[in-house]
């Protein structure tokens, strides 16, 4: 999957740091697969908005799942998953407009460069111009959700409808692994001693930015359920 390369790097860092992440070999893939689940959920939310009239129960359940993943990722401080494609370009210095969540890919492309609402004061610091991914844990932690959302929509908007399937086609076979990992998982992913390099950063993220992340998501949910 596209983020695989980076995933391994972070795992190696962690392991170098203190010799293993909770002793579970599957732990790094848990994070990766959790991200897959997040991606899948966000796509589902988009898709259900495009349907004739979205099933509200389904939308709410998916949105709650997304929130749950995001909360857990916030607690872990593990905003690690970034696409190699994005690494080569300037990070998107903007907020994901809540409307983008609800638009089709074509529209996203057209309005991608449009002006967006001013970021809330608390969020301004997390938009470094050229943040080296993976080094600055704290800023990374706060902006990670934004970036992964951005990445998802970039991926979706830059690809033809057919290739969206491709995006997920090679993930299909891994879903059975996803099954095994995710359905057995207790909420607490490896954290703490497993990621000592980022522990201070993980402790640092003020609730305000997490709240703003959550606020973004809730905003998105609001748009979806207002239908």
């Amino acid at each position: 999957m596209f983020a695989r390369g980076l995933k391994r790097k972070s795992t190696e860092d962690a392991e170098d740091g203190d010799g293993g992440v909770a002793g579970v070999p599957a732990a790094p893939s848990y994070t990766l697969q959790r991200q897959s689940l997040l991606d899948m959920s966000l796509v589902k939310l988009q898709l259900c908005h495009m349907l004739v009239e979205p099933n509200l129960c389904r939308s709410v359940l998916i949105a709650n799942t997304v929130r749950q993943i995001q909360e857990e990722m916030t607690q872990d401080g593990t905003w690690r998953v970034v696409a190699p494609q994005a690494a080569g370009r300037a990070p998107l210095d903007r907020l994901v407009s809540t409307e983008i969540l609800c638009r089709s890919g074509r529209e996203q492309e057209g309005e991608g460069d449009g002006p967006l609402p001013d970021p809330a004061p608390g969020q301004a610091p997390r938009r470094p111009q050229s943040s080296p991914w993976g080094l600055d844990g704290s800023r990374e932690g706060r902006g990670g959700f934004q970036k992964s959302l951005d990445h998802i929509f970039e991926t979706l908007e830059n690809k033809t409808p057919g290739s969206v399937e491709e995006l997920f086609s090679d993930v299909d076979s891994s879903y059975y692994d996803l099954d095994a990992v995710l359905t057995g998982m207790v909420g607490g992913a490896p954290s703490g001693p497993g990621l000592p390099a980022f522990a201070p950063a993980a402790a640092a993220p003020p609730s305000s930015t997490c709240r703003s992340d959550l606020g973004e998501l809730e905003h998105a949910v609001e748009i979806l359920v207002e239908t």
């Binding site: 389904r58 709410v60 359905t183 207790v186 809730e218 949910v221 609001e222 359920v225």
Partner: protein, 444 residues
């Protein structure tokens, strides 16, 4: 009421609903016996209602006792277009509920996502003949030719069953109606959508009372929806509704006009060892049904059926695993949306057996007294008329025996969401996509 073990199902009447319309429109979306079991109504995705009637017993044809034949077919709902939202309103019948019979005619409520209709189904087997002022074709006679007075006489005609819409209850639901329930006072009924429940009087169509409203002021805060609702079978002031978070609330309408505060709150504490990202989704209750006695409620979530005692709110008294082998497949089922399938559940007439559907055209029955359970299949290939249904088994891993099916071979497109149980006899109706199966107790 027979108390024999539940592996007896034999006579099978396979009725396939077909029409000249597109095949998609014939997927059965609801099944319901009336209060005597004489009639069985089905609703489909195309907005049609088909009612079956049980044949009367006949001394000459004992072996044909109790066969169900088509009694009436009518188009209940048509597709509509909501111009304000630019959305189509599906004609699919979500629920049918019968009213108890009070005269020669039958009455039922049928609903799609937005509109509830009261239908009267009545028989006509006589017609008046010999009008004084009209001729046999109904044209007025020339008064000059009328020289005698005669009174029309009722003469027998071929039985005709006609369905007429008597009430249309519209424009009361912003969200999709998932449940209707007739109150035991037989004067009111409720309709529930994702966020609100309305109380109607059968005689009044232009207004309803809103009795539950869980819509948050700020829709951003929406995390829970109503999934099903039902009136208590005997206490006309009591009803329950279930939620997408796996909770059930019992409300008393005497307490206040808007039942936002529940009288009882049923929720089982979460099992921490089973926690996953899908925990909430699989805990979402897809159906809630009072027992006939009114003492218990049964709820269906994705993997289990639970029986609750109304007097104990903190946990169910019984939990039955419907298809626990799916627990390790939840992510795949989330991906293909099967995890959002809404299965229904039913009690038998004596509340001793409960039944619910599963995948691969399997359905499950649980005997609450003996704690035995059985898996049966509704499929043409495996059911010849009057054959005995063979119990099925899903193999969970390890060595698969000859007759077993492995989990990976299950067909998830063949789902049994809707079933019904005759109010007093061991006759069940099972909807498998666009086929209706009726299974009956073995006579001899």
């Amino acid at each position: 009421m027979s108390t024999r073990p539940i592996s007896y199902l034999a006579k099978i009447f396979l009725l396939t609903l077909t029409s000249s319309k597109h095949q998609q429109s014939d997927i059965i979306s609801t099944v319901e016996f009336n209060h005597t079991g004489e009639l069985l109504a089905t609703g489909d995705k195309g907005g049609r209602v088909v009612i079956f009637q049980r044949e009367q017993e006949s001394k000459n044809q004992v072996h044909r006792r109790g066969e169900y034949n088509v009694y009436s077919t009518f188009q209940s709902h048509e597709p509509e277009f909501d111009y304000l939202k630019s959305l189509e309103i599906e004609e699919k019948i979500n629920k049918i509920r019968w009213l108890p019979q009070q005269n020669a005619a039958y009455f039922l409520l049928s609903t799609n996502d937005k509109t509830v209709k009261l239908w009267k189904v009545s028989e006509r087997d006589k017609r008046p003949e010999g009008y004084n002022l009209k001729d046999e074709e109904g044209r007025l006679r020339d008064p000059a030719t009328i020289t005698t007075l005669r009174v029309p006489v009722l003469r027998p005609m071929d039985l005709m069953v006609e369905a007429t819409p008597r009430r249309v209850f519209a424009n009361a639901h912003t969200y999709h109606i998932n449940s209707i329930s007739v109150n035991s006072d037989y004067e009111t009924y409720m309709s529930a959508d994702d966020l609100r429940i309305n109380l109607w009087n059968f005689e009044i169509t232009n207004q309803s009372f809103n009795i539950v409203d869980i819509k948050p002021a700020n829709m951003e805060e929406l995390t829970e929806v109503i999934t099903a609702a039902e009136f208590h079978p005997h206490h006309c002031n009591t009803f329950v509704y279930s939620s997408s978070k796996g909770t059930i609330r019992l409300c008393d309408m005497r307490a206040s006009a808007l039942c936002d505060r529940h009288t009882k709150f049923f929720e089982e504490p979460e099992d921490p060892s089973n926690r996953s990202f899908f925990s909430e989704i699989i805990s979402s209750i897809s159906d809630v049904k009072f027992s006939h006695s009114g003492r218990y409620i049964m709820t269906r979530d994705y993997l289990t059926v639970k029986v609750w005692d109304l007097n104990m709110e903190n946990r169910p008294i019984e939990t039955y695993q419907v298809h626990d082998y799916l627990r390790s497949k939840l992510c795949s089922l989330y991906e293909n949306d099967c995890i959002f399938d809404k299965f229904e559940c039913v009690w038998n007439g004596s509340d001793s057996v409960i039944m619910t559907g599963s995948y691969n055209n399997f359905f499950r029955m649980f005997d609450r007294n003996t704690k035995r359970d059985v898996t049966l299949e509704a499929s043409r290939e495996n059911s010849k008329p009057r054959a005995i249904l063979k119990p099925r088994k899903v193999c969970v891993g390890g060595k698969r025996r000859k007759d077993e099916i492995s989990v990976d071979s299950l067909d998830f497109s063949k789902k049994i969401l809707h079933t019904a149980w005759h109010p007093s006899e061991n006759i069940i109706a099972v909807a498998a996509t666009n086929n209706l199966y009726i299974f009956q107790d073995k006579v001899n």
